[in-house]
Amino acid sequence: MAAHSDSGRTTEQIVSQFLSKALHAILAARIPYIHGPTPPPSRHPRKRDRWFHLALGDPPPALEHPSGLIPNGVMEPLVVDILLSPRDDPTMPEAIVERWVAQCEAPAPWSPLHSPAETSSNSFLVKRTYKKSIILLRSIYSVLRLLPAQRVFKMLCASNQSYNHDLTYRVSSFAEPFSRKEEAEFQYHCFAPVETQSGQLAVSVQYRPSLSQFNLEISSLLPPMLITDYVGSPAADPMRAFPSSPSERTGTRSSTSFPLRGSQHGQPSTSAPASAPVFFNRPHSWTGGPSEVPSNRAQHPNHPPTGSYRKPAFNFDEFKFSPPFYMSPTPSPPKFSGSYMQSPLRSETAPVSIPQSGSSKVKVLRSPNLSDPTRNFLPPPSPRSARTTDPSSQDSDSRSFRRPDGLRTSDGYSNMYGTPKGLKDGRDDSGRFSLSGSPRFTFSRSSSRISVPDDLDDPDFSYPFAVDDVDSSDSQARSNDGKEVSDFGHASSSHKSQDAAVGVLVHMLRTAAPLRDSTYSSQSSKSELQEEGLGSTSSFFMSRKASDALEELQSYKSIKEMLLSQSKGKLH
């Protein structure tokens, strides 16, 4: 405590410092981020902190010159109004939620303090004044935490959301009296005055006991609206940019550009003259945002409060509105039936689809020559050959049946048209040929190249590309021998579904009776034939009619011709 020989000056100094520190305590407890975005770090108490033994830290910029607050001396009252200002609605008036009044009232003429002659007890009085001022300041500090506005302050400080109100302040030396109606809304708390040589230091506060009428709530960044073009909607254009910020569209005044913090209103330190009274008819604001903001916000007093959208120097709206747009979630999962999703899926459709153009990269199951009218009669290439994208390789595939044993097209023909030898060699892999009734070609999945007309789409048919279809389809095909032969005769005129045609053909071939049962039987069950004797064999041939055999022969010949013609076409 500063001890001076002049006790009067000391008292004035005490009062002045008290008012300054009280103002500091009030603003620190009511105005969010009065020190800026980050609070000043705690440090060793300075001389200023030692006043009244209460370390409050560095004062806010507006209070750097505390003497400027009380230009006419300590006898002028200090009036601090804490206001709740609506953020989104400039037409709504500000409301005073607290009014602090601190003043040193002149002593009464009959008061012993009034007499300057009593100097012996001045030092004692000063000490007592100082001690009581310490307690009074502590009480002010505590009461600030007990009043309803403290809750609002905590909400604005603690949350990273913006609210629809701001806490602002107004410092003056004159308190505009409340109306009777307003007076009734306030409660009054008066601290016990501290006697000083200059008078009684009295502090009082008028406060609203409830702030529920202000509907303090989190302000929404976007006005409620129905989003019709959400991602995944039929009307959505996946490449369309998001619309502009809603404030530009609605023309509403933006908030004080701090979506994450509540704003505070007060005089910027740069414009606080040392001797000018700190009395503002209209508070202006500074915020706790980036460093550029205060200088920008200082311009706000020149901006009339209009309903138009006002942008700071750097557009906080982008900061404010970009996160929702940037992180705009997909409201609904993308609909895979949408058009934009089809192209990537197109190449991954079922292997049975054969693209119309030869440029498709997918060669899982492709007919090598799609423009060939006889392509329907050719089975799709083997999976091994289908992996290649080279058209030349496709041609080679069309002519070759890739099989594990390396059987080529010519060999395939011979295999198809009953070259028993070739078949014999690859019988186990390719299947068997039959001359009885219907051409039954049974190929493995790696060698089938015979096309099947579209109208042979048998639902029970298993595609040649299926792995385990050979055995299962044989029993079904044997019962339909006649039908398959007649249908096959009309194969050249159908282009309905090549994959279905192929499948049907292969199925037919698989289920076809062997061309030469005797030969096959002799190869596989020669001993059985020998056991059964020639009689059984002859009976087998006799059961078949010659017409059936002729029909089969004719069908085989047509197939042969088709294959030859196709191969010739591809060679050219």
Binding site: P45, A55, K127, K131, I135, R138, R145, L146, K154, A192
Partner: protein, 218 residues
């Protein structure tokens, strides 16, 4: 020196609320009586919508926590007794005439605070950091509403007690001793005593004057 006595309004608290309530009141009193240089700390109550101020002295916080724990353990041993009292006393040590079988110093109490608590639904809550007790999931909705009402009423009572403290400390200043120069934190020694329910504050004063043995915190 006269001893100012402040009897705070009785608070009806549940077992798990004792710690938070005592913290709030004790720290508020000490903040107004620790007239040395302090760096105040705002503390938001966990159970109530209240903010109180601590003087920021770690030793004070530690002692208060220990005393609260002691208080809770004592009341748990007497579940049938509902009214309990905690006394916070400020004193100064004075030398006295040395005499046979007596100490050379004495404590002169110049201020006492009596915190009156009425405990309901006593549940054991021994841990210093445990301030909340989960509700029994089987409680009916009406009991929850009652608890909410109780919580609101208690919060208002605590607030009223705090204002009572502030009013008292502002009005009663003349009895305060001289502040030691360059005092840091606590300027006056104090002690916290737990009164048994059968012992009133007056009885305690008599006992202390007669015995001359003072319980100390450290």
């Amino acid at each position: 020196m006269n001893c100012e006595v402040c009897e705070l309004k009785e608070l009806v608290v549940e077992q798990f609320e004792i710690r938070e309530v005592l913290r709030c009141i004790l720290h508020t009193i000490i903040f107004h009586r620790a007239l040395g240089l302090v760096r105040p700390r705002d503390i938001n109550c966990e159970l109530f919508e209240l903010t109180y101020v601590q003087c920021g002295v770690p030793e004070v916080e530690k002692e208060i926590e220990e005393k609260i724990t002691e208080f809770i353990s004592k009341i748990s041993k007497h579940p049938n007794r509902r009214s309990h009292q905690v006394c916070l006393s400020f004193y100064e040590t004075k030398d006295k005439q040395p005499a046979w079988f007596s100490s050379k110093t004495e404590r002169v109490y110049w201020e006492r605070w009596f915190i009156n608590l009425q405990i309901t639904n006593q549940r054991v809550n021994m841990k210093p950091n445990q301030t909340k007790v989960g509700f029994d999931p089987g409680e009916k909705l009406s009991s929850l509403e009652e608890k909410k009402l109780h919580r609101t009423a208690l919060e208002a009572s605590i607030r009223e007690n705090l204002f009572q403290i502030i009013k008292f400390v502002n009005e009663k200043m003349d009895h305060l001793p001289h502040i030691p120069p360059n005092a840091e934190g606590i300027s006056y020694p104090y002690e916290i005593t737990i009164l048994s329910s059968s012992e009133s504050s007056l009885d305690m004063l008599k006992r202390m004057l007669q015995t001359g043995h003072q319980t100390t915190l450290s």
